[in-house]
Symmetry: T
Subunit: 146 residues, 12 copies
Amino acid sequence: MSNVIALLHGPNLNLLGQREVDIYGTTTEADLLALVEKGAAGHGMTVEFFQSNHEGELVDQVHVVRHTCAAIVINGGALSHYGWSLHDALATFEGPVIEVHLSNTSKREPWRHTSVLTPVASGTIMGLGPHGYELAVDAIARLLNK
Amino acid sequence: MSNVIALLHGPNLNLLGQREVDIYGTTTEADLLALVEKGAAGHGMTVEFFQSNHEGELVDQVHVVRHTCAAIVINGGALSHYGWSLHDALATFEGPVIEVHLSNTSKREPWRHTSVLTPVASGTIMGLGPHGYELAVDAIARLLNK
Amino acid sequence: MSNVIALLHGPNLNLLGQREVDIYGTTTEADLLALVEKGAAGHGMTVEFFQSNHEGELVDQVHVVRHTCAAIVINGGALSHYGWSLHDALATFEGPVIEVHLSNTSKREPWRHTSVLTPVASGTIMGLGPHGYELAVDAIARLLNK
Amino acid sequence: MSNVIALLHGPNLNLLGQREVDIYGTTTEADLLALVEKGAAGHGMTVEFFQSNHEGELVDQVHVVRHTCAAIVINGGALSHYGWSLHDALATFEGPVIEVHLSNTSKREPWRHTSVLTPVASGTIMGLGPHGYELAVDAIARLLNK
Amino acid sequence: MSNVIALLHGPNLNLLGQREVDIYGTTTEADLLALVEKGAAGHGMTVEFFQSNHEGELVDQVHVVRHTCAAIVINGGALSHYGWSLHDALATFEGPVIEVHLSNTSKREPWRHTSVLTPVASGTIMGLGPHGYELAVDAIARLLNK
Amino acid sequence: MSNVIALLHGPNLNLLGQREVDIYGTTTEADLLALVEKGAAGHGMTVEFFQSNHEGELVDQVHVVRHTCAAIVINGGALSHYGWSLHDALATFEGPVIEVHLSNTSKREPWRHTSVLTPVASGTIMGLGPHGYELAVDAIARLLNK
Amino acid sequence: MSNVIALLHGPNLNLLGQREVDIYGTTTEADLLALVEKGAAGHGMTVEFFQSNHEGELVDQVHVVRHTCAAIVINGGALSHYGWSLHDALATFEGPVIEVHLSNTSKREPWRHTSVLTPVASGTIMGLGPHGYELAVDAIARLLNK
Amino acid sequence: MSNVIALLHGPNLNLLGQREVDIYGTTTEADLLALVEKGAAGHGMTVEFFQSNHEGELVDQVHVVRHTCAAIVINGGALSHYGWSLHDALATFEGPVIEVHLSNTSKREPWRHTSVLTPVASGTIMGLGPHGYELAVDAIARLLNK
Amino acid sequence: MSNVIALLHGPNLNLLGQREVDIYGTTTEADLLALVEKGAAGHGMTVEFFQSNHEGELVDQVHVVRHTCAAIVINGGALSHYGWSLHDALATFEGPVIEVHLSNTSKREPWRHTSVLTPVASGTIMGLGPHGYELAVDAIARLLNK
Amino acid sequence: MSNVIALLHGPNLNLLGQREVDIYGTTTEADLLALVEKGAAGHGMTVEFFQSNHEGELVDQVHVVRHTCAAIVINGGALSHYGWSLHDALATFEGPVIEVHLSNTSKREPWRHTSVLTPVASGTIMGLGPHGYELAVDAIARLLNK
Amino acid sequence: MSNVIALLHGPNLNLLGQREVDIYGTTTEADLLALVEKGAAGHGMTVEFFQSNHEGELVDQVHVVRHTCAAIVINGGALSHYGWSLHDALATFEGPVIEVHLSNTSKREPWRHTSVLTPVASGTIMGLGPHGYELAVDAIARLLNK
Amino acid sequence: MSNVIALLHGPNLNLLGQREVDIYGTTTEADLLALVEKGAAGHGMTVEFFQSNHEGELVDQVHVVRHTCAAIVINGGALSHYGWSLHDALATFEGPVIEVHLSNTSKREPWRHTSVLTPVASGTIMGLGPHGYELAVDAIARLLNK
């Protein structure tokens, strides 16, 4: 079985740390990846990272990681709230899928209160900033008995 | 006038036969294409197939087939339910547009009950599995008097 | 097993060809029946036709054809949108049920956008005019392996 | 500063492991507490546990732990979905509040899809079973720099 | 198997016969209990009565009677319309649960038209005044073959 | 005063015992009538039974029994959810009207959760299978002091 | 051109004067017919009256009067609020259609506030009791220049 | 008792015959007044006419005619759909109030489908063009026994 | 007749002055009670104070003060927005019930915009801070002619 | 600083005491003004009264009193429920604004349940009849430390 | 053809620059008029300005400028969101109608998100402050080929 | 500071002038670009044009122009109504963002009535055809003091 965690990032997350720091903080995407890689290494796992502003590319990538990864950690960005194609792609993945949000979306605009990805995720971790990514890796390790 | 039918497939349909076989059956996308090609041949027509997980590519392709095809058969996958750009693209196509769904979407999640593509389709065929594709070709042949 | 298709028509369809020809065209109910019978004959099947403006009579007839017919083709007319008793009757039929609409109801008044019969139909064919009836017969033949 | 985590359990969670094991699993409340205590110990923290089927007692207890605990982990049970008094109580707590749900509530009845506690939580962890409690403790340790 | 029926009364039912007699009549809670006990005795059963204005105490009591009673008759009072914790408690009870309302709540304020307890009840008897309690006992006797 | 109970059955109830036995059980309509007659006889009453799949016939029959019967027991089938004409007819009946449903409709499709007949019924008994009919007869006997 | 006005009455109107006299008054259906006939005579017209509790029969009758009458006066009773088949039938009638309600339905239950027949009527007269029928005849005379 | 009918016209009705003649026809406000006066004279009554584009002036005028007129005929124009102050004013008038609309508002924009004046009118006459005004006068004569 | 005013406080009001002072100010519950007692004394009345975080205890207390107090001043806290049991309890109280809110709840979260207690209160005073309590006492004195 | 309270009355309040006395009582507008003036005098203040049935005049008057008055007491009548222009005018007033309603509007028609003026008022006093006006003056005196 | 642009201002705009300067800025109405006049002069046009807090006066003025002006620039203030009478008046104007809002109303309260004037405007310019007025004049010049 | 305006076009705008000319006119995308370039040149600015049918590419391009352009003019096509990722991208742009629509979308299908881009735009110009683009450039020049 694969020892790889797919870390998928949706639209605009490549700007993390450069925009709206009052909401998202100053951690960059590279910082997050380093955190996740470090966490994964602690469980003997590696990370395959993919960011895209295109829903289609994220769907394509989910199709790829169906064959290469044991689990998915996904922060869909705005697509979390209308990306039904991504929802359908994730539904075909057999391993654990952990949805992460840096901010507590229930405190923001109403359209961010519901995620269409949640019903196809194993679980969701929200509002805990970068810690949420570390916890997601731990969750996967536990679910996979790593 | 063109003798070509454009067969367009939306997100995740490339996985047909590999996922959720209880809903979609075991027929693969290649099987469907063969069915459609066979049906088209019976009416002296050929098929131009295009699948994409990207709404933008499907819009691009509709723009292409406006010049090369006489009719469209489309299964938009999840985009059927929120792909307004695809809706607008199809609205510019002058020949028949037949929307097909393998499953009876009214028996599934509420967000699948309404298709935003239906108002710009000539007609819709739903719930009849691969037969729906064969019927769509027959419908086109009748509408084009082939 | 029966070789008979029940063709059921709901309220006002007896006026086909005589009213609102911009929506429904000039084909009469007799024309449609002839089309269906011709299609059925091609598959070695016959047709039992029944039209009523009474929901109760349509329910009665569904009860009858449970014992005499192998499949149902139904255009419920306005009852498609509120005929829950007809919905319950069709739910008791064991063979294929194909719902047909001549027009693309999603282009008309909002109350016609949802059919309460769809959830108990095997499939739906909509917007293709009289061709929809021919396709419905073909669908049945395919589903019954005729 | 206090080294104590308040673990609060809402209505019916005292029956964990005895009811609806298909949804909640066989882990008992005592098992969960042991997990949380073990996790807390790893960070030099202890746990103050409180379960009640009374919203009023949970509100009272939040008032108590405002003075005695550094953080709250709360699974509100059904109160998560209508317990506005508990919402108001949690809003007065100054340390981190982590909301935990064993199951992925977005897959269950619609009334469980929204939690009224989320807007006053620091973050939410959902769908990960008992692991969610372990992660909640880790989250608190990170947020408190323990 | 237990021969005891738990009769549970929600908020304000202790005032029966003293308030709003145009809606609830002049029968007191003691009168109702006597009726239920008499009915139960006719089937060789006894009654364990419990009234509370606290949702938490009703949940606690449902937990108790899971071990001591064969069936529940419950009139949740206003909690019928928002008491999701009580809903969850009743869902853990394995014997018959009969929901009773003295008045026909569909004739009163809109918020009384839906009971959140109904989906976890075996059945509901509404609008028949004190007779509803007698019928509930008879229903239980029939369901338990007493 | 009349000693007759009108038992009215709406659409598709004539198929009881032959369809969807997982929902409605194997009891036939004849069995139900026998139960009701037996129950009525115990109170010195007789039963006038009427089933129809036509809302109009049920309205006609309510008009008839206004002159011949002392009470009505009605299971409106699907008409319970949209039969406003039947609602208006029942509103003209002066004796007790008991609405019965075999299944607990709150556990089924949303459109079955509300009955338009309830506001004109004396009371409703739901979810108790054939026992519900026996209880309805007892309710009538009590209400009429038989 | 025909000199006949079709007067159509929906469900329960045959009970006029016998029920709910606080809402509908003591005028009977025969009284109303006499009024309408007298009014029509004043314009050299006659009246063809038809009452039914069956939506199907009303649809059938609309089909008949398409060939025999110059105008329709209709009080659909409860069908005014859900009788889409009757709506479709009236839409096929080429002469004036006047919808009449005895009571001001906007003062009654919410489901009576909207009539599905209004969009296919030439006009509506509501709340004026029997006078509304007299006015409807006058309206027709004016519209037909009688 | 007064022999005067107040004819009240809301905003933009002073432009009748000059604008949107496809909807409102070519009859001018003066023509309508002449019709109403002629009709009133036939019953020995006179007319007091008032048009305003100001809701406040219409309210003022209703207060005036409470003392001078026996009945009101009102076409509120757009105020019919949001003029709650006018609604409250009309509620204080003790004689008959007849609401008139030239067009069938149910065939126009959704915000015109409901009139807030209807619940305080004796009756409504809609869709019959200028004839509606004549009928309103006749209705008043009948209601006042003129 | 009693000279006592019951002052009832719902959940979290015991923290007044200690939390969210930007919304509720720095006045404590004791300060409020002193204000109310002073005001009451001016009218020859005394105050019976009761605060609870338990809806059940507030219901119990309403039952008590039905026998001991002449009027109720109530600030239900969050229960104002979902405490239907408290609503039912207050409905049984025969004297004046004045609902008070310190803040103007219409400026806060949507769920605080509607109070379920208002329909059973004599009147409501909102947004005036501690002054609202003084006014409530004055209102009671006026209503009781003290 | 000004010692003047502006008392503003919206549409139809000039009829107080003359209409719907079951709802509004027999107190006239002059009586109310006398009460308010007496109350104001007790705090060394005077009253500037203005009633209009025109929203525009009320807006104009708010603009005037911005320069002449220290506070506003307003009963907007029906405009309370749709007068957004009045809302915007009041938002520009810098002193206290007290909204008063004689009746408890939550017990009346649904459109009266929400006031669009409340979000720009300092506070609201509702349901206490003429006493509400006296309390409003007292509130202003307290808020202005008079 | 007229060379005059009607500039219409709705309620409270006369206070521009004096109130809520964080939303509307410090530009006064006179400043705006000067800007518009300067812009109009550049296209050989003049401006007829009218402000009112009365919807009726704005309707009256639209009727006037139908005869005197070639185009309308309108900022309806709060009436933009409920002024259906103004909507109907503008619908009768034959030249261009440009709707202007100083602020981006989609960032403010929900009731300001939709303008009832937009469907009868040629176009809308929103959120650009005083520049929006200048652009509106330019737009008119372009549309009129000035 | 950059002198470049980014002109961004969403899906299907590349077909301008070739499709639905009744709605969008005969101006092509090249014509529009020429207009915008000419307008920009008048203010000493240049234009960077980008059209895509892919939301992802538009998001990518917004990220690019954050570093290269001083302002954005965007017509999002159908993405205006569901493109939340594009919304989030635009929110990160620091200069002016002007949203343009050729047609008045409030006159078209309901789903086009709300733009999800508006809340992150500086302003919106709608319904003025190609002129809207010219005005957008002028707006930018004004906002940037060019």
